[in-house]
C-alpha cells in the first residue's frame, strides 16, 4: 500500500480526477462507474446517490480489488464528502465500503473523521461510540473521553436520548454508579423528548442504590416539563431535520425562524448551551442560510467571549455560498472593532480572513483597502508620543515596502514571505499604488516623487482605469491649484482615461466649481485664447453624461453620415436600419434658387432594402379607419 492511500480528508486535497491512472481494461469493464463519475451533477442529490450506488456495486463485484482501484473509489467518496460533509447517510455508507475494502480499523477511522467534519450529527456520534464500545471495550478512558466530547456537542439535542442511553449503559457496565448519577443529574435539566423516561429511571436508580438526590428533582422535573411543552409546538413541525441539496421547505424555514426567536427571547432565560444546540441543529438543514448564521452571531456577540464568535464567523464564511457578502463583511468589521481586545490574535485572524476572501472574490478591491489599513495600524504602529524621527522612519519604511511589493508584482517576482505581496492581484494593485502615492504626497510631503509616481504608474494598463488612482491624482493637482494639468486631465477624461460615467460626472461638476472658485477672468481668457474648443467652464458642463463630447467648430454634415450607427439607429435605438434615402436631396434648397439651374433626377440609396424594413403602418391603418 502506498503512502497516498493513508491520506485523511483534512491534510490532502483530494485529487482532481479520481480515476486518473487506473488500468484502461478496468475502465472499459466498468463503463457505468466511469460514466457516472464523469457526468456527476454536484447540485443533484440523486446523481450523487447514484454515484455511491455504483461504487457499492463495484465493491461487491470485485471483493478485494487492487490498491489503485481502492484508492480511486475512496477518493470519489472523499470528494463528495469534502464538499458536502453534512450528508450523514453518505458517511455511513462510506464506513461500510471502507470496512469491505480495508477492514475494521480504517472504517472506524472514517467514523472518527465524520464526527470531526460533522460534529453536530447525533447519528454519527451514536454510530461512532457504538463501534468504539463494541470493538475496543477495554479502552475505557478513550471511550469515556469521547462520550464527554459528544455530550458537549450533541447532548442537548431534543432527540438525543439514544446517545444518553448509550452513555448510561457504558457507565453502568463499568458499575461506575457515581458517574451514572452525575449523568442523570445532568440529563434531567435538558428538555429532551423522552425526559420523563429518564426521570423514572433516575428515581429507580436512587431507590435501588439508595442514593440521595442532590436537589429537589421534582422541581427540576416541573421546569423541564414546562420547557418541553413549550418547544413541542416547534419541534413537532420540523419536517426535515437533516441536510439535503436544494431549497429548504418554506414551512420549515418559518418554523425554524419562530423557534429561534422563541428560544433567544431573553425573557425565557433558557440555558445558553441549549439555545446553541438549537442553532446547531437548525444549521444542519439551513447551513446555506445567511440569516440564521447572522442570528447566531448576533446572539453570541451579545455576551460571549470572542473566541466562540470568531469560530462561528470563520465556519460560516467557509460554508456559505460565495455570493453571500453580508456576513463576511460583517466579520471584517467585527475584527476591526475588536482589534484592541487582543491585537496580535485579531490581526492574525484578520490577515487570514482577507486572504481567504481575496481567494473567493479576487475582484473585490475594498478588501485590499481594509488590509492595508489594518496592516499599517498593526505593523507600523506609531504614536504621537514617540519622537518625530521614529514616526517618520516608520512611515518611510511603510512606503518602501509598498514600493517593493508593487515592483515585485510588476516584475512577477513576488516574495511569498511578505504577506502583502501574496494578496496583490491585477485588480487591487492600484489600491497599493494609491497608498504609496498618498504616503509620499501627504506624509513624506515629497511632491516631486509623487508626480513621478503618477507619471510612471498611469502608463500601466492595470492602473490606467483605476478610479482611486485618478481621484487621487485629481486631488493632488487640485491641491497644487495647477490648472494646466487639471485642464489636460479633464480633457482626457472619457477619451483616454476611462472611468465610470457617474464618477466622471462628479469630477466634471466638481472641477467647474473648483475652477470658478480659484480662477479669474484674466486667467480664463488667457487659457481659452489658444484653444477654441476647450474651456474650463462650459466644457465640463457640456461633457456631463456625454463623456465623448468633442466640441466641433462649424462642421459640415459628414458626407458619409448615412453610414454611421447614429443614423441607422435614429428613432429606434438598438435597431439598425438601412433606411432608404434620396442621396441628392433638394429639400434644403429654396425655390428661389431652384430656377437657376435644372434640377437633377433623384438618386436613391438603399431603395432595394425598402421591403426588408418592416414598420408598423399606423398611417394607413388610421387612414382606412377614418374612411370606414
Amino acid at each position: 500500500m502506498t503512502d497516498e492511500t493513508n491520506f485523511t480528508i483534512e491534510v490532502i486535497e483530494p485529487r482532481a480526477d479520481a480515476l486518473r491512472g487506473l488500468d484502461s481494461l478496468f475502465l472499459q469493464d466498468n463503463a457505468a462507474l466511469v460514466q457516472t463519475y464523469r457526468n456527476m451533477d454536484w447540485s443533484d442529490i440523486s446523481s450523487l446517490t447514484q454515484m455511491v450506488d455504483v461504487i457499492e456495486q463495484t465493491v461487491v463485484k470485485y471483493g478485494d480489488p487492487n490498491d489503485s482501484i481502492k484508492l480511486a473509489l475512496e477518493t470519489i467518496l472523499w470528494q463528495i464528502l469534502r464538499k458536502y460533509p453534512l450528508l450523514f447517510g453518505f458517511w455511513k455508507r462510506f464506513t461500510t465500503i471502507e470496512y469491505q475494502l480495508f477492514g475494521l480499523k480504517k472504517s472506524i477511522e472514517v467514523l472518527a473523521t465524520s464526527v470531526k467534519w460533522f460534529p453536530t450529527s447525533l447519528e454519527l456520534w451514536c454510530d461512532y461510540l457504538n463501534v468504539l464500545c463494541v470493538n475496543n471495550p477495554n479502552e475505557k478512558d478513550f471511550i469515556r473521553n469521547n462520550f464527554h466530547i459528544a455530550k458537549d456537542l450533541i447532548g442537548e439535542q431534543f432527540l438525543s436520548h439514544p446517545f444518553w442511553d448509550k452513555f448510561i449503559e457504558f457507565e453502568v457496565r463499568q458499575e461506575n454508579w457515581e458517574n451514572v448519577q452525575t449523568i442523570y443529574e445532568y440529563i434531567i435539566e435538558i428538555p429532551l423528548h423522552q425526559y420523563a423516561r429518564f426521570f423514572t429511571s433516575y428515581k429507580k436508580l436512587l431507590n435501588e442504590r439508595n442514593f440521595k438526590p442532590k436537589r429537589d428533582i421534582d422541581t427540576v422535573l416541573r421546569r423541564t416539563q414546562t420547557i418541553v411543552n413549550e418547544i413541542w409546538q416547534f419541534e413537532s413541525k420540523i419536517k426535515q431535520p437533516f441536510f439535503n441539496l436544494g431549497q429548504v421547505l418554506q414551512d420549515d424555514l418559518k418554523n425554524w425562524s419562530q423557534y429561534l426567536n422563541f428560544v433567544t427571547n431573553a425573557s425565557k432565560s433558557l440555558d445558553k448551551k441549549f439555545i446553541m444546540s438549537i442553532f446547531d441543529r437548525c444549521l444542519i438543514p439551513c447551513v446555506y442560510n445567511e440569516k440564521v448564521w447572522l442570528m447566531y452571531i448576533n446572539l453570541l456577540t451579545r455576551e460571549d467571549s470572542y473566541e466562540i464568535t470568531v469560530g462561528i464567523y470563520q465556519k460560516a464564511s467557509k460554508v456559505l455560498p460565495l455570493d453571500f457578502k453580508t456576513l463576511r463583511y460583517d466579520f471584517i468589521k467585527y475584527l476591526k472593532k475588536n482589534y484592541r481586545l487582543n491585537n496580535v490574535l485579531f490581526s492574525k485572524i484578520f490577515n487570514e480572513t482577507v486572504s481567504h476572501f481575496l481567494n473567493i472574490w479576487p475582484n473585490d478591491i475594498s478588501l485590499m483597502t481594509e488590509y492595508i489599513c489594518m496592516w499599517k495600524r498593526h505593523s507600523f504602529k506609531n504614536s504621537l508620543d514617540q519622537p518625530p524621527r521614529e514616526i517618520l522612519e516608520k512611515q518611510t519604511s511603510f512606503a518602501k515596502i509598498l514600493e517593493t511589493s508593487i515592483t515585485n508584482y510588476l516584475t512577477k517576482q513576488t516574495d511569498p514571505r511578505v504577506h502583502l505581496q501574496t494578496l496583490i492581484n491585477d485588480k487591487n494593485l492600484s489600491i497599493v499604488v494609491v497608498e504609496l502615492i498618498k504616503t509620499t504626497w501627504l506624509v513624506l510631503k515629497n511632491n516631486m516623487q509623487t508626480r513621478k509616481y503618477f507619471n510612471f504608474y498611469q502608463k500601466n494598463s492595470l492602473i490606467k482605469d483605476s478610479v482611486p488612482f485618478w481621484l487621487t491624482y485629481y486631488k493632488f493637482e487640485k491641491s497644487n491649484v495647477n490648472f494646466t494639468r487639471l485642464n489636460k486631465f479633464i480633457k482626457e477624461l472619457g477619451v483616454e482615461i476611462y472611468l465610470p460615467t457617474t464618477i466622471m460626472n462628479d469630477i466634471l461638476t466638481d472641477y467647474k466649481t473648483f475652477y470658478l472658485m480659484h480662477s479669474n477672468i484674466v486667467a480664463y481668457e488667457t487659457s481659452t485664447l489658444d484653444s477654441n474648443d476647450f474651456d474650463p467652464i462650459l466644457y465640463p458642463e457640456m461633457k456631463i453624461s456625454n463623456p465623448q463630447y468633442e466640441p466641433v467648430a462649424g462642421v459640415k454634415p459628414n458626407a458619409e453620415w448615412y453610414k454611421r450607427t447614429e443614423w441607422k439607429e435614429a428613432g429606434h435605438v438598438g435597431i439598425m436600419i438601412e433606411r432608404p434615402q434620396i442621396s441628392n436631396s433638394i429639400i434644403e434648397c429654396n425655390s428661389r434658387n431652384l430656377v437657376q439651374k435644372p434640377i437633377t433626377l433623384p438618386n436613391f440609396r438603399n431603395l432595394e432594402k425598402i421591403n426588408q424594413v418592416k414598420i408598423n403602418d399606423l398611417y394607413t391603418e388610421e387612414f382606412l379607419k377614418e374612411r370606414k
Binding site: R340, C373, M517, I537, A570, L618
Partner: protein, 544 residues
C-alpha cells in the same frame, strides 16, 4: 352713454381687469377679459368709438406680451385690424407674431400668406414672402397646406410653368403628412405633357439622356416615344414615392401619431410625460437627420406645447453649442427659456457658462444682479440650493477677477470677500432648514493656502463650534470636513497636522455625539492615518 363709458363703469369689467392685474400669468383671466370687451363692443367696425378700439388693441397687445406664443390671438388681432382697414397694422402684427417664433410658426405663416394673397398684388413681393416662409416652415410635417397655397399662387400668377414644376418637384421629396396628394398632382402633370420638348422643364437634357435614355430631340415618331418617356418618368416617380412614403410612415408611426398637443397651453397645463418623452425622442431623431432647418423648426415646434418646461430649451441650446458651435444662438435660446420656463435652475446654470465662454462679463454681472434682486438681495434664502450655489460660484469668479491683479490681500478676494462670505455664513446658519449645507462645507475646505485655511477655520468651523449648533456638531461630515481642511493644508508638516487633528480637533467633539460622528471620522482616519484608529476608538467608544 356710449359703449366705452358703459363698459368701464361695468362692475364685471372691473372685476375682470382686477383679476388680470392681480394674476397676469393666468391665461384664463385674460381670455375672459378679452372676450368680455369684444362682446361688449360688437359689432366692431370702422365706426366703433376710437376709445373702445384703443382698449381692444391694448388688451390684445398686453396679452400677447404676457403670452408671446399665442398664435391664434396674433391672427385674430391682425384680422381685426384688416377688417378695420389698417392693412399695415395687420402686417406688423403678423410680423410681430412671426418674430416671437423666430419665423418658425406654420399657423402664422399660412394665415399671413392667405392675407398677403389678398393685399399684395406685386408678384415678386408676394413670392418673396412665400420664399421666406418656405425657408422656415417648408419642411414642417404638416406644411402641406402651405405648399398648396404656394402652388395655387404660382399657377394663377405665373405664365411660365417652369416655377410650378420646380416647386412641385421639391415638395415631392419632403416627408409630408399629405405627401401623396402632391404625387397625384405631379403624375397628372406628366400625363398632361403633350410635347417631348416640355420634358426639359423637369430636368436637364443630359440627365434625361443619361439616366432615362430619353432624347428630347428625338427625330423619329414622337407619339409612342413620348408615351415611353412618360412611363420611365412614372417609374422614377414611383421609386421616389416609395422612399418618401417610408420616411413619412417612420416619422408618423414613431412620433407624430403620439403627439396630441400642437399648440400653446398655459403655464398651468401639464403635458403628459409620454408626450414629453416622444418630443425628446423626436428631437434626437431630427438631430441625427442633420437637416439643420428641420432641426430648428422641430425645436420651435416642441417649444410650443413645452415652453414652460426647461428641457427643450436646454436641449435646443446644447444642440446649438455642440453641433453648430453657435454660442450666441444658444445664449438667446436660454434667455428666452428663462422667460418661459417655470424651472429656471438648469437654464441659469448653463446660461452662466455660455456667457463666460462668450466673454460677456457685463452681462454675467447683470444676470447675477438680477438673480440677487429677484430674491430681494437675499439669494442665500432661496430654497433651491442649486440657484444659490451657482450664483455663489460665478459671483466668486467675478470677485476673484476684481481683486486678483491689484491686491495681494487674499481676504478681500473671491469667496472670502466680506459680502459673499456673509451670504455663505447666513446660508450655513439656516442649518437643517435649508439643503446643501454639506456640499457647501465640502467646497469650503478646498482652499489650500495658509491664509485661507486659517480664515475658513476661524470663521466657519470655530464659529460653528462656538455657536454650539448641534445640527453640525452631531454630523460626522462636519468633523470630517474640518479634519480635511487641516490635513490638506500644504503649509503644515505631516506631524503638525496629525497632531493638530488628534489633539486639537477630536477633543472638541462632544462624547454624546460619538454614535453619529464616529463612522465619518473612522473613514477619515482609515484613509489618512490608520495608526490613530486606536486613539479614535479609545476616545469615542466605551470599553467593551
Amino acid at each position: 352713454m356710449d359703449k366705452y363709458t358703459a363698459l368701464i363703469h361695468d362692475e364685471n369689467f372691473s372685476t375682470l381687469t382686477l383679476n388680470v392685474s392681480r394674476y397676469p400669468k393666468s391665461l384664463a383671466y385674460w381670455e375672459k377679459l378679452l372676450n368680455y370687451i369684444v362682446k361688449a363692443s360688437a359689432p366692431i367696425c370702422k365706426s366703433t368709438e376710437p376709445q373702445l378700439l384703443k382698449l381692444i388693441r391694448c388688451t390684445y397687445s398686453s396679452m400677447l406680451n404676457e403670452f408671446p406664443y399665442l398664435e391664434n390671438y396674433y391672427i385674430d388681432f391682425a384680422l381685426l385690424e384688416y377688417k378695420l382697414g389698417n392693412v399695415s397694422m395687420s402686417h406688423k402684427i403678423f410680423q410681430r407674431g412671426l418674430q416671437a417664433f423666430n419665423q418658425r410658426s406654420l399657423l402664422l405663416w399660412t394665415s399671413y400668406l392667405k392675407f398677403c394673397n389678398n393685399v399684395i398684388s406685386h408678384q415678386k413681393q408676394l413670392f418673396k414672402k412665400y420664399e421666406t416662409a418656405e425657408e422656415y416652415v417648408g419642411l414642417h410635417f404638416f406644411s402641406g397646406e402651405f405648399w398648396d397655397l404656394y402652388l395655387e399662387q404660382i399657377s394663377s400668377r405665373c405664365t411660365s410653368s417652369k416655377k410650378y414644376w420646380n416647386v412641385l418637384r421639391k415638395i415631392l421629396e419632403i416627408p409630408l403628412h399629405s405627401f401623396s396628394k402632391f404625387y397625384a398632382l405631379w403624375l397628372q402633370r406628366i400625363d398632361d405633357i403633350m410635347d417631348l420638348k416640355q420634358l426639359s422643364q423637369l430636368t436637364s437634357k443630359d440627365e434625361l439622356l443619361k439616366k432615362l435614355k430619353i432624347d428630347i430631340n428625338y427625330s423619329g415618331r414622337k407619339g409612342p416615344y413620348l408615351q415611353d418617356a412618360k412611363k420611365k418618368l412614372k417609374k422614377i416617380t414611383k421609386e421616389m414615392y416609395m422612399v418618401v412614403q417610408y420616411q413619412v410612415l417612420e416619422i408618423y408611426s414613431i412620433f407624430e401619431s403620439k403627439i396630441y398637443i400642437n399648440y400653446y397651453t398655459s403655464p398651468e397645463t401639464l403635458v403628459s410625460s409620454d408626450e414629453i418623452e416622444t418630443w425628446i425622442k423626436y428631437l434626437d431623431y431630427t438631430i441625427t437627420l442633420q437637416t439643420d432647418s428641420l432641426t430648428h423648426l422641430n425645436f420651435q415646434r416642441a417649444l410650443l406645447p413645452l415652453a414652460h418646461y426647461d428641457l427643450v430649451w436646454i436641449k435646443y441650446s446644447k444642440w446649438l453649442i455642440n453641433s453648430k458651435n453657435d454660442l450666441l444662438g444658444a445664449k438667446n435660446v436660454l434667455l428666452m427659456g428663462l422667460k418661459f420656463s417655470l424651472k429656471k435652475t438648469e437654464i441659469i446654470k448653463l446660461l452662466y457658462s455660455v456667457i463666460c465662454k462668450l466673454n460677456e462679463y457685463v452681462l454675467l454681472r447683470d444676470l447675477l444682479e438680477k438673480i440677487e434682486s429677484s430674491y430681494s438681495d437675499n439669494v442665500e434664502n432661496v430654497d433651491d440650493f442649486e440657484i444659490f450655489w451657482d450664483y455663489l460660484q460665478f459671483k466668486t469668479f467675478c470677485q476673484n477677477s476684481l481683486y486678483s491683479s491689484r491686491y495681494s490681500d487674499s481676504q478681500s478676494n473671491g469667496l472670502l470677500n466680506k459680502e459673499l462670505f456673509d451670504k455663505v455664513w447666513k446660508r450655513l446658519s439656516c442649518k437643517e432648514k435649508k439643503s446643501g449645507q454639506e456640499i457647501l462645507l465640502n467646497n469650503l475646505v478646498q482652499f489650500y493656502s495658509k491664509d485661507t485655511v486659517e480664515f475658513v477655520e476661524k470663521n466657519i468651523f470655530q464659529k460653528i463650534i462656538e455657536s454650539g449648533w448641534e445640527y453640525y456638531l452631531q454630523n460626522g461630515m462636519f468633523w470630517n470636513c474640518y479634519c480635511r481642511l487641516i490635513y490638506f493644508d500644504t503649509s503644515r508638516s505631516y506631524l503638525d497636522k496629525r497632531q493638530y487633528i488628534v489633539r486639537k480637533i477630536w477633543p472638541q467633539i462632544d462624547k454624546k455625539f460619538a454614535q453619529s460622528v464616529l463612522p465619518s471620522l473612522t473613514e477619515f482616519c482609515q484613509s489618512y492615518f490608520p495608526e490613530e484608529m486606536d486613539t479614535l476608538e479609545e476616545m469615542f467608544t466605551e470599553e467593551p
